[in-house]
């Protein structure tokens, strides 16, 4: 019997995590603005997923990072690295001030994850690489009879890379119920809507046909994300696939669902507007908490 993921940090309420997400989004915006570079839209769409993963699900921390029994997270959609950098700083892997070097000469904090940055498992950036690597690590866990889990975050545009489907086949062949792939299903890529560029829908039935257990969640709903992660593996003997319905640019109205913000960097005015919007959402959550009390 495969153990269910133990939710380590039950102290945080959904509201507290929602506040964290907004704080993460503010930092994503801040450091992208500072670097004058970054994949803004995708970082904002996967922020809540990373928040729940690192604060609730993954058995990783700076002092445990060389532990062979730690959970593994590989960000296959590597370009959304700014969200990951912000979350890892918050988890204590390095001081947040390091992010001031983002995309600067000789900085390890470049536009994609690299192992030079504490907390990063694999160098990614080219799409279609994370899932095969995670299949390998999940097989290693099975061979070693270890109970750690392997997680990867995929983009929906990324699924056009054929290597994902080779890995998807192998994952079910090897019955990798210790493997969890999360799809940041924001339905946009650099050229336009994924369904117009090269339609990969329906994704759920494709993965089911490849032998995976599939769930849909609202990728911005902390409660739904927590519940979904708390239930993996969805089926014993099958890898789990979470289709997280997200909004590219989430949290900043003028960025939402707009391909312009795939790697757009806000100007001064847009930056202030974006931070104001996030501040208002923060205020609103805090007020609702006070009202509840």
């Amino acid at each position: 019997m495969i153990r269910r993921i133990f939710l380590k940090n039950k102290k945080m309420t959904n509201q507290e995590l929602e506040i964290k997400s907004l704080q993460y989004r503010k930092k994503v915006l801040k450091y992208i603005k500072l670097a004058k570079a970054g994949h803004t839209g995708g970082s904002l769409s996967c922020t809540d997923i990373l928040n729940v993963l690192y604060n609730e699900v993954l058995n990783v921390s700076p002092d445990k990072f060389s532990d062979p029994d730690r959970d593994r997270y590989v960000q296959s959609k590597g370009h959304s690295v700014e969200a990951l950098f912000v979350v890892l700083a918050d988890k204590g892997f390095y001081p947040e001030s390091k992010l001031e070097t983002l995309c600067k000469f000789k900085s390890h904090f470049i536009g994609h994850p690299t192992k030079k940055v504490p907390g990063i498992e694999q160098n990614t950036g080219a799409l279609g690489h994370g899932l095969p690597i995670c299949v390998g690590t999940a097989i290693a866990a099975k061979l070693d009879k270890k109970s750690y889990k392997v997680f990867t975050l995929l983009g929906d545009g990324e699924l056009m890379e054929g290597s994902n489907w080779e890995a998807a086949m192998a994952a079910s062949h090897y019955k990798l119920d210790n493997l969890v792939a999360i799809l940041d299903y924001n339905q946009l890529q650099i050229t336009g809507a994924t369904k117009d560029v090269c339609n990969s829908d329906p994704i759920d039935s494709k993965f089911e046909a490849f032998g995976w257990a599939v769930r849909h969640v609202d990728g911005h709903d902390i409660k739904e994300l927590r519940e979904a992660f708390g239930q993996v593996p969805f089926e014993e003997g099958k890898p789990s696939f979470i289709i997280a319905h997200t909004n590219k640019g989430k949290g900043i109205s003028y960025m939402e669902n707009s391909i312009k913000w795939h790697h757009g960097v806000p100007n001064d005015e847009q930056y202030i507007l974006g931070q104001d919007e996030l501040d208002k959402q923060l205020e609103s959550i805090k007020n609702s908490e006070i009202t509840k009390r």
Binding site: H129, I133, G136, A140, L143, E166
Partner: protein, 318 residues
């Protein structure tokens, strides 16, 4: 010139040595894992599969996945050998080698079987005449082509203990015993035969015809030909190149690879950058639509044979 194939003692295919060596390693080390892409038969790994079924991961005909999975296994502490025909492994999955293995520093041993034109009449889809060139340009990978059974066994054993990526390529034809020289270290060339007039720096299974040519020239022409097995193409053994350049007026390189970007050009750049102006020639497969035929017919056609190498050397004297 009289051609003879009887000078050297018999050996078996390096491929067979590879399989036996892996079994030997796996018997002592449970962390050895072999990953194959429907290639276990071609790689002579069926005995391995029978003895160590828990230590093989079959990914099917999916070379990109082969290398990605191998990287993931290596990152979890396995000593991984990813085995597939060199032609697919170093072209179709080149991005996985570059990113998942080399850039991510996952110490996978990438084993390119049936390298060069081993697949002969199957055509260019199945030839790997580009692998040294593409892998030389990628940071953090050692590139190896062992000459004979001894070098193959040693290369596999040393690679298993390395904590960085290694590519090893060999063919499937039997290779004779080439030398009593029992020194082998990845990154250090192996002197097969001393000489003084001409040095042949060869790699992989072209060391065998190079040695035959050297012995032939000595017998027939009285030319003293040195033969060096440059089994490690990257990092190149610069100290032996320097010695060769100082001691031999004529230098010939031989490889079962394109003349572009392989051993020959690697040596040439060292010699030029260090002021050596020895007479120098690169033998390999020219940049053309490769002639069709068996491996030996193709190699003969391009002069990578006892006779062809000997004739090339005599022309260099002219």
């Amino acid at each position: 010139m009289k051609i003879s194939n009887n000078r050297l003692k018999d050996g078996i295919a390096n491929l067979e040595v590879f399989s036996a060596t892996l079994q030997d390693l796996a018997s002592k080390d449970r962390s050895i894992v072999v990953v194959t892409s429907d290639s276990r038969g071609s790689a002579k790994l069926n005995p391995f599969v029978e003895k160590y079924p828990e230590q093989i991961v079959e990914v099917g005909i999916a070379e990109q996945n082969l290398v990605g999975i191998a990287a993931g296994l290596a990152s979890a502490g396995k000593k991984v050998f990813a085995v597939s025909p060199a032609c697919f492994l170093t072209a179709r999955s080149l991005e996985q080698i570059k990113n998942d293995v080399a850039y991510s520093d996952n110490p996978v041993n990438i084993i390119g079987i049936s390298g060069g034109v081993s697949y002969g009449p199957l055509g260019s889809t199945h030839h790997s005449l580009h692998d040294f060139a593409v892998l030389r340009a990628i940071n953090n990978i050692t590139v190896v082509a062992p000459a004979d059974n001894f070098e193959t066994e040693m290369a596999i054993k040393q690679a298993a203990e390395m904590d960085s990526p290694v590519y090893i390529r060999f063919g499937k034809k039997p290779i004779p015993f080439l030398s009593d020289n029992g020194d082998f270290q990845l990154g250090k060339a192996r002197m097969i035969k001393e000489g003084k007039d001409v040095a042949i720096i060869a790699t992989g299974e072209t060391v065998y015809p190079a040695l035959e040519a050297a012995l032939l020239l000595e017998e027939e022409q009285g030319v003293q030909v040195g033969v060096i097995s440059m089994h490690t193409i990257k990092p190149l053994d610069y100290s032996i190149l320097s010695e060769v350049a100082k001691n031999y007026p004529i230098i010939l390189t031989v490889e079962e690879h394109s003349v572009f970007g392989g051993l020959g050009e690697a040596c040439a750049s060292y010699f030029m950058e260090n002021g050596f102006t020895n007479k120098f020639k690169i033998m390999g497969i020219p940049d053309e639509y490769t002639v069709t035929g068996s491996q030996s017919e193709i190699l003969d056609y391009y002069g990578i044979s006892e006779k062809g190498i000997a004739e090339t050397i005599m022309k260099l004297f002219a």
